[in-house]
Protein backbone atom coordinates (compact mmCIF):
# COMPACT_ATOMS: atom_id res chain seq x y z
CA UNK A 1 0.00 0.00 0.00
CA UNK A 2 2.79 2.31 1.02
CA UNK A 3 4.87 1.57 -2.04
CA UNK A 4 1.84 1.63 -4.33
CA UNK A 5 1.14 5.25 -3.47
CA UNK A 6 4.53 6.32 -4.68
CA UNK A 7 5.05 6.95 -8.33
CA UNK A 8 8.79 6.56 -8.49
CA UNK A 9 11.74 5.09 -6.69
CA UNK A 10 13.51 8.44 -6.09
CA UNK A 11 10.35 9.68 -4.43
CA UNK A 12 10.47 6.66 -2.12
CA UNK A 13 14.13 7.31 -1.31
CA UNK A 14 13.65 10.99 -0.63
CA UNK A 15 10.52 10.36 1.41
CA UNK A 16 12.29 7.67 3.39
CA UNK A 17 15.26 9.94 3.94
CA UNK A 18 13.23 12.86 5.16
CA UNK A 19 11.01 10.64 7.30
CA UNK A 20 13.93 8.96 8.99
CA UNK A 21 16.06 12.00 9.49
CA UNK A 22 13.51 14.80 9.60
CA UNK A 23 11.79 16.53 12.49
CA UNK A 24 9.15 13.80 12.84
CA UNK A 25 11.85 11.54 14.20
CA UNK A 26 13.48 14.38 16.18
CA UNK A 27 16.73 14.05 14.27
CA UNK A 28 20.14 12.79 15.25
CA UNK A 29 21.06 16.23 16.64
CA UNK A 30 18.36 16.02 19.34
CA UNK A 31 19.24 12.43 20.19
CA UNK A 32 22.89 13.37 20.52
CA UNK A 33 22.02 16.40 22.66
CA UNK A 34 19.83 14.14 24.83
CA UNK A 35 22.78 11.78 25.35
CA UNK A 36 25.04 14.69 26.26
CA UNK A 37 22.53 15.85 28.89
CA UNK A 38 22.36 12.40 30.53
CA UNK A 39 22.62 12.66 34.33
CA UNK A 40 24.84 9.55 34.54
CA UNK A 41 27.70 11.30 32.76
CA UNK A 42 29.18 12.29 36.14
CA UNK A 43 29.92 8.65 37.02
CA UNK A 44 32.97 6.59 36.12
CA UNK A 45 32.80 3.33 34.17
CA UNK A 46 33.85 0.43 36.39
CA UNK A 47 33.48 -2.40 33.87
CA UNK A 48 32.23 -3.16 30.38
CA UNK A 49 30.56 -6.40 29.31
CA UNK A 50 28.89 -7.83 26.21
CA UNK A 51 25.67 -9.69 27.01
CA UNK A 52 26.96 -10.20 30.55
CA UNK A 53 30.41 -11.51 29.51
CA UNK A 54 33.28 -9.30 30.65
CA UNK A 55 34.87 -7.69 27.62
CA UNK A 56 38.32 -9.14 28.46
CA UNK A 57 36.85 -12.64 28.00
CA UNK A 58 34.43 -11.90 25.17
CA UNK A 59 35.20 -13.24 21.69
CA UNK A 60 35.70 -10.00 19.77
CA UNK A 61 37.96 -8.54 17.06
CA UNK A 62 41.12 -7.18 18.71
CA UNK A 63 40.49 -3.57 17.68
CA UNK A 64 36.99 -3.55 19.15
CA UNK A 65 38.12 -5.21 22.37
CA UNK A 66 40.86 -2.59 22.88
CA UNK A 67 38.38 0.25 22.40
CA UNK A 68 35.93 -1.33 24.84
CA UNK A 69 38.63 -1.93 27.47
CA UNK A 70 39.74 1.71 27.07
CA UNK A 71 36.29 2.78 28.27
CA UNK A 72 36.93 1.34 31.75
CA UNK A 73 37.96 4.14 34.12
CA UNK A 74 36.68 6.84 31.80
CA UNK A 75 33.73 9.15 32.41
CA UNK A 76 30.36 7.60 31.56
CA UNK A 77 29.98 9.47 28.25
CA UNK A 78 26.58 8.36 26.91
CA UNK A 79 27.32 9.70 23.42
CA UNK A 80 30.48 7.57 23.26
CA UNK A 81 28.58 4.56 24.66
CA UNK A 82 25.86 5.03 22.03
CA UNK A 83 28.50 5.31 19.29
CA UNK A 84 30.17 2.14 20.58
CA UNK A 85 26.82 0.30 20.50
CA UNK A 86 26.36 1.37 16.86
CA UNK A 87 29.90 0.23 16.03
CA UNK A 88 29.34 -3.17 17.68
CA UNK A 89 26.11 -3.59 15.73
CA UNK A 90 27.83 -2.75 12.46
CA UNK A 91 31.06 -4.71 12.94
CA UNK A 92 29.44 -7.83 14.40
CA UNK A 93 26.49 -7.66 11.93
CA UNK A 94 23.93 -7.71 14.73
CA UNK A 95 20.30 -6.75 14.60
CA UNK A 96 20.53 -4.46 17.64
CA UNK A 97 22.80 -3.55 20.53
CA UNK A 98 21.17 -2.03 23.61
CA UNK A 99 23.14 -0.19 26.26
CA UNK A 100 22.38 -1.06 29.86
CA UNK A 101 23.86 0.75 32.88
CA UNK A 102 23.84 -0.61 36.41
CA UNK A 103 25.39 0.35 39.73
CA UNK A 104 29.06 -0.49 40.25
CA UNK A 105 30.69 -1.89 43.39
CA UNK A 106 31.61 1.62 44.56
CA UNK A 107 29.38 4.69 44.74
CA UNK A 108 29.75 6.88 41.64
CA UNK A 109 30.83 3.91 39.53
CA UNK A 110 28.79 2.37 36.74
CA UNK A 111 28.82 -0.97 34.99
CA UNK A 112 28.08 -0.86 31.27
CA UNK A 113 26.60 -3.88 29.54
CA UNK A 114 25.94 -4.05 25.79
CA UNK A 115 23.05 -6.44 25.26
CA UNK A 116 23.24 -7.88 21.76
CA UNK A 117 20.37 -9.10 19.58
CA UNK A 118 21.31 -11.36 16.67
CA UNK A 119 19.70 -11.15 13.26
CA UNK A 120 16.86 -13.48 12.35
CA UNK A 121 17.73 -13.57 8.68
CA UNK A 122 20.99 -14.34 6.98
CA UNK A 123 20.82 -11.84 4.12
CA UNK A 124 20.94 -8.09 4.38
CA UNK A 125 19.64 -6.13 1.40
CA UNK A 126 20.76 -2.54 0.89
CA UNK A 127 20.87 0.28 -1.65
CA UNK A 128 24.44 1.63 -1.39
CA UNK A 129 24.11 4.27 -4.09
CA UNK A 130 21.30 5.93 -5.93
CA UNK A 131 21.20 8.93 -8.24
CA UNK A 132 18.66 10.64 -10.43
CA UNK A 133 20.26 13.04 -12.92
CA UNK A 134 17.88 15.13 -15.03
CA UNK A 135 19.99 14.54 -18.16
CA UNK A 136 21.62 11.14 -17.55
CA UNK A 137 18.67 9.37 -15.94
CA UNK A 138 19.02 6.87 -13.12
CA UNK A 139 22.09 5.28 -11.61
CA UNK A 140 21.65 2.78 -8.84
CA UNK A 141 22.84 -0.31 -7.12
CA UNK A 142 21.06 -2.92 -5.00
CA UNK A 143 23.02 -5.52 -3.11
CA UNK A 144 22.45 -8.46 -0.81
CA UNK A 145 25.18 -9.53 1.58
CA UNK A 146 25.69 -12.20 4.15
CA UNK A 147 28.37 -12.55 6.80
CA UNK A 148 30.10 -15.50 8.38
CA UNK A 149 32.71 -14.37 10.90
CA UNK A 150 35.14 -12.07 9.07
CA UNK A 151 33.87 -13.29 5.67
CA UNK A 152 31.36 -11.31 3.65
CA UNK A 153 29.64 -12.41 0.44
CA UNK A 154 27.89 -9.77 -1.61
CA UNK A 155 25.75 -10.07 -4.72
CA UNK A 156 24.45 -6.96 -6.42
CA UNK A 157 22.76 -5.49 -9.48
CA UNK A 158 24.03 -2.25 -11.01
CA UNK A 159 22.98 0.22 -13.65
CA UNK A 160 25.46 3.08 -13.84
CA UNK A 161 25.28 5.96 -16.30
CA UNK A 162 27.39 8.32 -14.21
CA UNK A 163 30.96 7.09 -13.83
CA UNK A 164 32.08 6.12 -17.35
CA UNK A 165 31.60 7.15 -20.97
CA UNK A 166 29.12 4.30 -21.38
CA UNK A 167 26.20 3.12 -19.26
CA UNK A 168 26.93 -0.31 -17.83
CA UNK A 169 24.25 -2.59 -16.45
CA UNK A 170 24.72 -6.00 -14.90
CA UNK A 171 25.63 -7.97 -11.83
CA UNK A 172 28.48 -7.80 -9.37
CA UNK A 173 29.59 -10.36 -6.81
CA UNK A 174 32.24 -10.01 -4.14
CA UNK A 175 33.88 -12.07 -1.44
CA UNK A 176 35.85 -10.36 1.35
CA UNK A 177 37.88 -11.76 4.19
CA UNK A 178 38.45 -8.97 6.73
CA UNK A 179 41.07 -10.94 8.62
CA UNK A 180 43.89 -12.69 6.76
CA UNK A 181 46.38 -13.71 9.48
CA UNK A 182 45.59 -10.45 11.32
CA UNK A 183 43.07 -7.56 11.38
CA UNK A 184 45.56 -5.55 9.33
CA UNK A 185 45.37 -7.64 6.18
CA UNK A 186 42.19 -8.09 4.13
CA UNK A 187 41.55 -10.08 1.00
CA UNK A 188 38.82 -9.53 -1.54
CA UNK A 189 37.84 -10.85 -4.93
CA UNK A 190 35.21 -9.28 -7.13
CA UNK A 191 33.39 -10.49 -10.20
CA UNK A 192 31.38 -8.32 -12.60
CA UNK A 193 29.38 -8.94 -15.74
CA UNK A 194 28.03 -5.89 -17.57
CA UNK A 195 26.11 -5.07 -20.70
CA UNK A 196 27.22 -1.74 -22.18
CA UNK A 197 25.11 0.98 -23.78
CA UNK A 198 26.80 3.69 -25.81
CA UNK A 199 25.34 7.11 -26.44
CA UNK A 200 24.68 8.34 -29.97
CA UNK A 201 27.34 11.02 -29.44
CA UNK A 202 29.99 8.41 -28.66
CA UNK A 203 28.97 6.24 -31.62
CA UNK A 204 29.08 9.24 -33.99
CA UNK A 205 32.50 10.27 -32.68
CA UNK A 206 33.79 6.73 -33.21
CA UNK A 207 32.44 6.69 -36.75
CA UNK A 208 34.11 10.04 -37.37
CA UNK A 209 37.58 8.73 -36.59
CA UNK A 210 37.66 7.59 -32.99
CA UNK A 211 38.27 4.03 -34.09
CA UNK A 212 41.51 5.10 -35.79
CA UNK A 213 42.93 6.02 -32.40
CA UNK A 214 42.74 2.35 -31.36
CA UNK A 215 39.53 2.68 -29.38
CA UNK A 216 36.90 0.00 -29.68
CA UNK A 217 33.30 -0.15 -28.52
CA UNK A 218 32.25 -3.33 -26.77
CA UNK A 219 28.89 -4.92 -26.06
CA UNK A 220 29.71 -6.74 -22.86
CA UNK A 221 32.41 -6.54 -20.24
CA UNK A 222 33.26 -9.24 -17.75
CA UNK A 223 35.91 -8.93 -15.06
CA UNK A 224 37.57 -10.54 -12.06
CA UNK A 225 39.57 -8.47 -9.58
CA UNK A 226 41.41 -10.13 -6.67
CA UNK A 227 43.38 -7.98 -4.22
CA UNK A 228 44.91 -7.57 -0.77
CA UNK A 229 44.58 -4.51 1.44
CA UNK A 230 47.14 -3.78 4.16
CA UNK A 231 46.48 -1.39 7.01
CA UNK A 232 49.99 0.06 7.16
CA UNK A 233 49.18 2.66 9.81
CA UNK A 234 46.12 4.17 11.44
CA UNK A 235 45.75 6.65 8.61
CA UNK A 236 47.35 4.74 5.74
CA UNK A 237 46.10 1.72 3.78
CA UNK A 238 47.80 0.09 0.81
CA UNK A 239 46.15 -2.20 -1.72
CA UNK A 240 47.70 -4.52 -4.29
CA UNK A 241 45.83 -6.61 -6.78
CA UNK A 242 44.93 -7.31 -10.37
CA UNK A 243 42.03 -6.78 -12.72
CA UNK A 244 41.25 -9.20 -15.53
CA UNK A 245 38.63 -7.89 -17.96
CA UNK A 246 37.25 -9.38 -21.16
CA UNK A 247 35.22 -7.37 -23.66
CA UNK A 248 33.08 -8.61 -26.53
CA UNK A 249 33.33 -6.02 -29.38
CA UNK A 250 30.28 -4.38 -30.95
CA UNK A 251 31.47 -5.51 -34.37
CA UNK A 252 30.10 -8.98 -35.04
CA UNK A 253 32.73 -11.61 -35.73
CA UNK A 254 35.49 -9.68 -33.99
CA UNK A 255 37.35 -11.66 -31.33
CA UNK A 256 37.18 -10.90 -27.62
CA UNK A 257 39.63 -8.41 -26.21
CA UNK A 258 41.35 -8.62 -22.86
CA UNK A 259 42.45 -5.79 -20.60
CA UNK A 260 44.47 -7.27 -17.77
CA UNK A 261 46.20 -5.00 -15.32
CA UNK A 262 48.06 -4.95 -12.05
CA UNK A 263 46.54 -2.50 -9.56
CA UNK A 264 47.98 -0.59 -6.62
CA UNK A 265 46.36 2.00 -4.37
CA UNK A 266 47.52 4.07 -1.44
CA UNK A 267 44.95 5.82 0.73
CA UNK A 268 45.79 8.37 3.39
CA UNK A 269 43.22 9.88 5.77
CA UNK A 270 43.91 12.18 8.68
CA UNK A 271 41.63 14.29 10.83
CA UNK A 272 42.25 16.90 13.52
CA UNK A 273 39.52 17.34 16.13
CA UNK A 274 38.97 20.54 18.07
CA UNK A 275 37.04 23.79 17.73
CA UNK A 276 38.14 23.76 14.11
CA UNK A 277 37.79 20.25 12.69
CA UNK A 278 40.02 19.45 9.74
CA UNK A 279 40.07 16.37 7.54
CA UNK A 280 42.64 15.49 4.91
CA UNK A 281 42.07 12.61 2.55
CA UNK A 282 44.44 11.60 -0.24
CA UNK A 283 44.52 8.74 -2.70
CA UNK A 284 46.95 7.54 -5.35
CA UNK A 285 45.91 4.84 -7.77
CA UNK A 286 47.93 2.97 -10.39
CA UNK A 287 46.75 0.49 -13.02
CA UNK A 288 49.35 -1.19 -15.18
CA UNK A 289 47.97 -3.02 -18.22
CA UNK A 290 50.61 -5.40 -19.48
CA UNK A 291 50.89 -7.96 -22.26
CA UNK A 292 52.72 -10.28 -19.86
CA UNK A 293 49.31 -10.86 -18.24
CA UNK A 294 47.81 -11.68 -21.65
CA UNK A 295 46.34 -8.21 -22.14
CA UNK A 296 45.56 -6.82 -25.59
CA UNK A 297 45.99 -3.34 -24.14
CA UNK A 298 49.26 -2.04 -22.78
CA UNK A 299 48.87 1.07 -20.69
CA UNK A 300 49.54 2.90 -17.45
CA UNK A 301 46.77 4.78 -15.71
CA UNK A 302 47.54 6.99 -12.72
CA UNK A 303 45.16 9.08 -10.67
CA UNK A 304 45.75 11.22 -7.65
CA UNK A 305 43.09 12.89 -5.53
CA UNK A 306 43.04 15.11 -2.44
CA UNK A 307 40.23 16.31 -0.28
CA UNK A 308 40.64 18.90 2.45
CA UNK A 309 37.69 19.79 4.64
CA UNK A 310 37.45 22.27 7.47
CA UNK A 311 34.49 22.67 9.84
CA UNK A 312 34.03 25.52 12.27
CA UNK A 313 30.76 25.69 14.18
CA UNK A 314 28.00 25.47 11.60
CA UNK A 315 30.28 26.39 8.72
CA UNK A 316 31.91 23.89 6.44
CA UNK A 317 34.36 24.40 3.57
CA UNK A 318 36.07 21.84 1.38
CA UNK A 319 38.32 21.52 -1.61
CA UNK A 320 38.58 18.41 -3.80
CA UNK A 321 41.27 17.99 -6.38
CA UNK A 322 41.64 15.14 -8.85
CA UNK A 323 44.25 14.65 -11.57
CA UNK A 324 44.89 11.74 -13.89
CA UNK A 325 47.02 10.55 -16.74
CA UNK A 326 46.88 7.55 -19.11
CA UNK A 327 49.79 6.56 -21.28
CA UNK A 328 49.66 3.76 -23.87
CA UNK A 329 46.41 2.31 -25.26
CA UNK A 330 43.75 1.91 -22.62
CA UNK A 331 40.25 0.47 -23.06
CA UNK A 332 37.20 2.72 -22.84
CA UNK A 333 36.33 1.91 -19.23
CA UNK A 334 39.69 3.27 -18.07
CA UNK A 335 39.30 6.66 -19.78
CA UNK A 336 38.53 9.76 -17.74
CA UNK A 337 35.18 11.51 -17.80
CA UNK A 338 34.09 14.94 -16.60
CA UNK A 339 30.48 16.04 -16.28
CA UNK A 340 29.35 13.43 -13.76
CA UNK A 341 27.51 13.84 -10.45
CA UNK A 342 30.77 14.82 -8.74
CA UNK A 343 32.83 16.48 -11.49
CA UNK A 344 31.93 19.59 -13.53
CA UNK A 345 28.38 19.14 -12.28
CA UNK A 346 25.82 20.40 -14.76
CA UNK A 347 27.96 19.80 -17.85
CA UNK A 348 26.95 17.28 -20.49
CA UNK A 349 29.85 14.81 -20.58
CA UNK A 350 29.34 14.19 -24.30
CA UNK A 351 29.62 17.92 -25.06
CA UNK A 352 33.00 17.93 -23.29
CA UNK A 353 34.30 14.83 -25.06
CA UNK A 354 32.08 11.95 -26.21
CA UNK A 355 35.06 9.58 -26.06
CA UNK A 356 36.39 10.63 -22.68
CA UNK A 357 40.03 11.63 -22.30
CA UNK A 358 43.49 10.47 -21.27
CA UNK A 359 44.35 13.55 -19.21
CA UNK A 360 42.22 15.13 -16.54
CA UNK A 361 42.46 17.85 -13.92
CA UNK A 362 39.51 18.84 -11.79
CA UNK A 363 38.91 20.93 -8.70
CA UNK A 364 35.77 21.46 -6.66
CA UNK A 365 35.42 24.13 -4.02
CA UNK A 366 32.41 24.18 -1.72
CA UNK A 367 31.07 26.12 1.23
CA UNK A 368 28.27 24.84 3.42
CA UNK A 369 26.21 26.04 6.35
CA UNK A 370 24.37 23.74 8.71
CA UNK A 371 20.59 24.21 9.00
CA UNK A 372 19.12 21.85 11.59
CA UNK A 373 20.15 18.33 10.61
CA UNK A 374 21.10 19.29 7.06
CA UNK A 375 23.72 21.36 5.28
CA UNK A 376 22.98 23.89 2.55
CA UNK A 377 25.94 24.36 0.23
CA UNK A 378 27.23 26.29 -2.75
CA UNK A 379 29.98 24.92 -4.97
CA UNK A 380 32.26 25.87 -7.80
CA UNK A 381 33.69 23.16 -10.09
CA UNK A 382 36.41 23.68 -12.67
CA UNK A 383 38.17 21.15 -14.82
CA UNK A 384 39.77 20.17 -18.07
CA UNK A 385 39.73 16.91 -20.01
CA UNK A 386 41.99 16.29 -22.97
CA UNK A 387 44.05 13.75 -24.90
CA UNK A 388 47.78 13.56 -25.36
CA UNK A 389 49.12 15.42 -28.41
CA UNK A 390 46.07 17.68 -28.26
CA UNK A 391 45.41 20.87 -26.35
CA UNK A 392 43.39 20.96 -23.15
CA UNK A 393 40.40 22.40 -24.98
CA UNK A 394 40.18 24.99 -22.23
CA UNK A 395 39.11 24.89 -18.62
CA UNK A 396 35.37 24.59 -18.01
CA UNK A 397 33.47 25.85 -15.00
CA UNK A 398 30.18 25.21 -13.25
CA UNK A 399 28.39 26.61 -10.23
CA UNK A 400 25.64 25.18 -8.11
CA UNK A 401 23.71 24.89 -4.89
CA UNK A 402 22.80 21.84 -2.89
CA UNK A 403 21.25 20.51 0.26
CA UNK A 404 22.70 17.54 2.07
CA UNK A 405 21.10 15.63 4.93
CA UNK A 406 23.02 12.57 6.04
CA UNK A 407 23.64 10.56 2.91
CA UNK A 408 20.85 12.26 0.94
CA UNK A 409 21.75 15.03 -1.48
CA UNK A 410 19.77 17.42 -3.68
CA UNK A 411 21.79 19.48 -6.17
CA UNK A 412 21.07 22.10 -8.79
CA UNK A 413 24.09 22.78 -11.02
CA UNK A 414 24.65 25.43 -13.69
CA UNK A 415 27.37 24.97 -16.33
CA UNK A 416 29.05 28.29 -17.08
CA UNK A 417 28.32 28.62 -20.81
CA UNK A 418 28.15 31.93 -22.60
CA UNK A 419 24.68 32.96 -23.74
CA UNK A 420 22.44 30.43 -22.00
CA UNK A 421 21.51 29.01 -18.63
CA UNK A 422 20.57 25.34 -18.52
CA UNK A 423 20.41 24.01 -14.98
CA UNK A 424 20.77 20.32 -14.19
CA UNK A 425 19.00 18.71 -11.25
CA UNK A 426 20.36 15.77 -9.28
CA UNK A 427 18.89 13.88 -6.34
CA UNK A 428 20.09 10.78 -4.60
CA UNK A 429 22.34 9.38 -1.95
CA UNK A 430 26.02 8.56 -1.52
CA UNK A 431 27.17 10.28 -4.70
Amino acid sequence: MFAARLTSFPALLLLTGSALSGPAFAGQALLRAASEANVNQRYTIESVSISGVQVERAKLPAGLRHRLIAMVGARCDMTAIGDMAAELRKELHLRAVNEHLSRGSQPDQIRVNFEVVKRDIAFEVSVPKFLYHSKQGFTGEVQASTHAGPNTFTLGAVSNGDDLTERYTGIVARYEDAKVFSDKVRFGIGFEDFHEQWSNSTQRAMAAGGAESGLELYRTRRGVSPGFTFVAAKSLTLSLGANFAQMKPETSGASQRSANALTADAHFAHSVEGTVQQTLDGKYSLRLGTRSLGSDYSYTRQTISFRYQVKYGKQLASDDFMGGNISGDAPFFERFVLGSSSTLRGWDRYAINPLGGTRVAHNSLSYGYQFGDGVGEVFYDSGALWNRDKGTGGVRHSLGIGYRQGIFVLTMAFPVVEGRVSPVFMAGMNY
Binding site: F2, A26, L30, A37, V39, I121, E124, S126, P128
Partner: protein, 200 residues
Protein backbone atom coordinates in the same frame (compact mmCIF):
# COMPACT_ATOMS: atom_id res chain seq x y z
CA UNK B 1 -33.14 -12.90 30.97
CA UNK B 2 -32.80 -10.73 34.06
CA UNK B 3 -29.48 -12.39 34.83
CA UNK B 4 -28.33 -11.72 31.28
CA UNK B 5 -29.32 -8.05 31.63
CA UNK B 6 -27.54 -7.77 34.94
CA UNK B 7 -24.43 -9.38 33.43
CA UNK B 8 -24.45 -6.96 30.48
CA UNK B 9 -24.90 -4.00 32.82
CA UNK B 10 -22.02 -5.29 34.95
CA UNK B 11 -19.80 -5.59 31.88
CA UNK B 12 -20.76 -2.09 30.77
CA UNK B 13 -19.96 -0.77 34.22
CA UNK B 14 -16.60 -2.55 34.20
CA UNK B 15 -15.75 -1.15 30.75
CA UNK B 16 -16.82 2.35 31.84
CA UNK B 17 -14.86 2.07 35.06
CA UNK B 18 -11.78 0.96 33.11
CA UNK B 19 -12.19 3.82 30.64
CA UNK B 20 -12.50 6.27 33.51
CA UNK B 21 -9.42 4.82 35.17
CA UNK B 22 -7.11 5.02 32.16
CA UNK B 23 -8.35 8.10 30.28
CA UNK B 24 -6.03 10.98 31.10
CA UNK B 25 -7.60 14.43 31.25
CA UNK B 26 -6.02 17.63 30.02
CA UNK B 27 -6.45 20.43 32.56
CA UNK B 28 -5.90 24.07 31.63
CA UNK B 29 -5.13 26.93 34.01
CA UNK B 30 -3.63 30.40 34.11
CA UNK B 31 -0.35 31.08 35.86
CA UNK B 32 0.92 34.65 35.57
CA UNK B 33 0.82 35.70 31.94
CA UNK B 34 0.74 32.15 30.60
CA UNK B 35 -1.81 29.46 29.89
CA UNK B 36 -0.47 26.25 31.42
CA UNK B 37 -1.61 22.67 31.20
CA UNK B 38 -1.45 19.63 33.42
CA UNK B 39 -2.45 16.01 32.89
CA UNK B 40 -2.26 14.23 36.24
CA UNK B 41 -3.12 10.78 34.88
CA UNK B 42 -1.11 10.98 31.65
CA UNK B 43 1.84 8.89 32.91
CA UNK B 44 3.99 9.09 29.80
CA UNK B 45 6.99 7.81 31.72
CA UNK B 46 6.00 4.19 31.47
CA UNK B 47 6.41 1.08 29.32
CA UNK B 48 9.29 0.96 26.89
CA UNK B 49 10.43 4.55 27.55
CA UNK B 50 10.66 3.94 31.30
CA UNK B 51 12.46 0.66 30.71
CA UNK B 52 15.09 2.40 28.55
CA UNK B 53 15.43 5.23 31.07
CA UNK B 54 16.07 2.74 33.88
CA UNK B 55 18.78 1.20 31.67
CA UNK B 56 20.51 4.57 32.01
CA UNK B 57 19.81 5.66 28.42
CA UNK B 58 18.46 9.13 27.54
CA UNK B 59 15.04 9.42 25.97
CA UNK B 60 14.00 12.42 23.89
CA UNK B 61 10.44 13.72 23.96
CA UNK B 62 8.93 16.32 21.67
CA UNK B 63 5.95 18.19 23.07
CA UNK B 64 3.61 20.59 21.34
CA UNK B 65 0.76 22.58 22.86
CA UNK B 66 -1.62 23.97 20.25
CA UNK B 67 -4.45 26.44 20.75
CA UNK B 68 -7.14 26.65 18.09
CA UNK B 69 -10.45 28.44 17.76
CA UNK B 70 -12.19 25.24 16.50
CA UNK B 71 -11.76 21.65 17.66
CA UNK B 72 -9.23 19.82 15.45
CA UNK B 73 -8.60 22.97 13.37
CA UNK B 74 -5.53 22.81 11.14
CA UNK B 75 -4.40 26.40 11.65
CA UNK B 76 -3.29 27.18 15.20
CA UNK B 77 -3.96 30.50 16.94
CA UNK B 78 -1.02 29.95 19.26
CA UNK B 79 1.53 27.24 19.73
CA UNK B 80 4.31 26.20 22.10
CA UNK B 81 6.75 23.44 21.20
CA UNK B 82 9.67 22.08 23.17
CA UNK B 83 12.15 19.23 23.08
CA UNK B 84 13.02 17.40 26.27
CA UNK B 85 15.78 14.97 27.19
CA UNK B 86 15.07 12.74 30.17
CA UNK B 87 17.49 10.48 31.97
CA UNK B 88 17.43 8.39 35.12
CA UNK B 89 20.18 8.56 37.72
CA UNK B 90 21.30 4.98 38.36
CA UNK B 91 22.60 5.75 41.88
CA UNK B 92 20.20 8.48 42.96
CA UNK B 93 17.15 6.73 41.43
CA UNK B 94 15.62 10.02 40.37
CA UNK B 95 14.92 11.60 37.00
CA UNK B 96 16.63 14.51 35.35
CA UNK B 97 15.10 16.64 32.58
CA UNK B 98 16.65 19.09 30.12
CA UNK B 99 14.51 21.36 27.97
CA UNK B 100 16.19 22.47 24.75
CA UNK B 101 15.25 25.95 23.66
CA UNK B 102 15.30 27.43 20.20
CA UNK B 103 17.86 30.05 21.12
CA UNK B 104 21.40 29.50 22.45
CA UNK B 105 21.41 29.77 26.23
CA UNK B 106 17.73 28.97 26.57
CA UNK B 107 18.44 25.41 27.72
CA UNK B 108 17.06 24.57 31.18
CA UNK B 109 17.68 21.53 33.36
CA UNK B 110 16.30 20.09 36.57
CA UNK B 111 17.23 16.93 38.48
CA UNK B 112 16.30 14.81 41.53
CA UNK B 113 12.69 14.45 40.35
CA UNK B 114 10.23 11.62 40.79
CA UNK B 115 8.62 10.25 37.61
CA UNK B 116 5.47 12.29 38.22
CA UNK B 117 7.43 15.46 39.00
CA UNK B 118 9.44 15.01 35.81
CA UNK B 119 6.23 14.69 33.77
CA UNK B 120 4.73 17.75 35.48
CA UNK B 121 7.88 19.80 34.81
CA UNK B 122 7.76 18.90 31.08
CA UNK B 123 4.11 19.89 30.71
CA UNK B 124 4.65 23.03 32.76
CA UNK B 125 7.28 24.08 30.24
CA UNK B 126 4.73 24.00 27.43
CA UNK B 127 2.95 27.28 28.05
CA UNK B 128 1.28 29.81 25.78
CA UNK B 129 1.15 33.55 26.45
CA UNK B 130 -2.43 34.54 27.35
CA UNK B 131 -1.99 37.92 25.64
CA UNK B 132 -2.15 36.06 22.31
CA UNK B 133 -5.76 35.08 23.05
CA UNK B 134 -8.91 37.20 22.95
CA UNK B 135 -10.30 37.24 26.55
CA UNK B 136 -13.82 36.18 25.56
CA UNK B 137 -13.19 34.10 22.47
CA UNK B 138 -13.52 30.33 23.08
CA UNK B 139 -10.47 28.22 22.35
CA UNK B 140 -9.48 24.55 22.29
CA UNK B 141 -6.26 23.05 23.58
CA UNK B 142 -4.36 20.07 22.19
CA UNK B 143 -1.29 18.39 23.65
CA UNK B 144 0.80 16.26 21.28
CA UNK B 145 3.66 14.43 22.98
CA UNK B 146 6.00 11.94 21.30
CA UNK B 147 8.88 9.81 22.52
CA UNK B 148 11.68 9.00 20.12
CA UNK B 149 13.58 5.78 20.14
CA UNK B 150 17.04 6.49 18.71
CA UNK B 151 17.54 2.84 17.81
CA UNK B 152 14.88 3.08 15.13
CA UNK B 153 17.13 5.29 13.03
CA UNK B 154 20.38 3.43 13.57
CA UNK B 155 21.00 0.81 10.97
CA UNK B 156 18.58 2.03 8.30
CA UNK B 157 20.82 4.75 6.92
CA UNK B 158 24.54 4.32 7.15
CA UNK B 159 27.70 3.44 5.32
CA UNK B 160 26.15 0.90 2.94
CA UNK B 161 23.38 3.37 2.01
CA UNK B 162 19.79 2.43 2.77
CA UNK B 163 19.49 -0.91 4.48
CA UNK B 164 16.33 -2.41 2.95
CA UNK B 165 16.28 -5.33 5.39
CA UNK B 166 16.24 -2.98 8.39
CA UNK B 167 13.67 -0.76 6.71
CA UNK B 168 11.36 -3.75 6.19
CA UNK B 169 11.80 -4.68 9.87
CA UNK B 170 10.81 -1.16 10.93
CA UNK B 171 7.79 -0.90 8.61
CA UNK B 172 6.68 -4.38 9.70
CA UNK B 173 6.35 -3.31 13.34
CA UNK B 174 3.06 -2.07 14.73
CA UNK B 175 2.90 1.73 14.62
CA UNK B 176 2.61 2.05 18.39
CA UNK B 177 5.74 -0.04 18.87
CA UNK B 178 7.69 2.32 16.68
CA UNK B 179 6.95 5.61 18.39
CA UNK B 180 5.03 6.30 21.58
CA UNK B 181 2.60 9.17 21.20
CA UNK B 182 0.03 10.85 23.44
CA UNK B 183 -2.65 13.16 22.08
CA UNK B 184 -5.02 14.96 24.48
CA UNK B 185 -7.70 17.50 23.70
CA UNK B 186 -9.70 19.83 25.89
CA UNK B 187 -12.01 22.80 25.50
CA UNK B 188 -13.67 25.09 24.87
CA UNK B 189 -12.22 27.60 27.32
CA UNK B 190 -12.00 31.38 27.43
CA UNK B 191 -9.29 33.44 29.08
CA UNK B 192 -11.99 35.26 31.05
CA UNK B 193 -13.29 31.95 32.45
CA UNK B 194 -9.82 30.82 33.40
CA UNK B 195 -9.22 34.14 35.18
CA UNK B 196 -12.49 33.71 37.05
CA UNK B 197 -11.52 30.17 38.07
CA UNK B 198 -8.10 31.40 39.18
CA UNK B 199 -9.39 34.19 41.42
CA UNK B 200 -12.37 32.18 42.65
Amino acid sequence: MAALGAGAAGCALLVTARAVTIAPKLLVHLDGDYIHISAPRLGFLNGKALERLKDGVSIAFIGQLTITSQPNAVVADARSAARFALSYDIWDEHFSVTRFGDRPGSQRSISHLSAQAAETWCLDNLAVEQALMHPDKPFYVQLDLRADDPRDQIGVIGEPGINITRLIEIFSRPVKGNQQRWLLNAGPFTVAELKKARYG
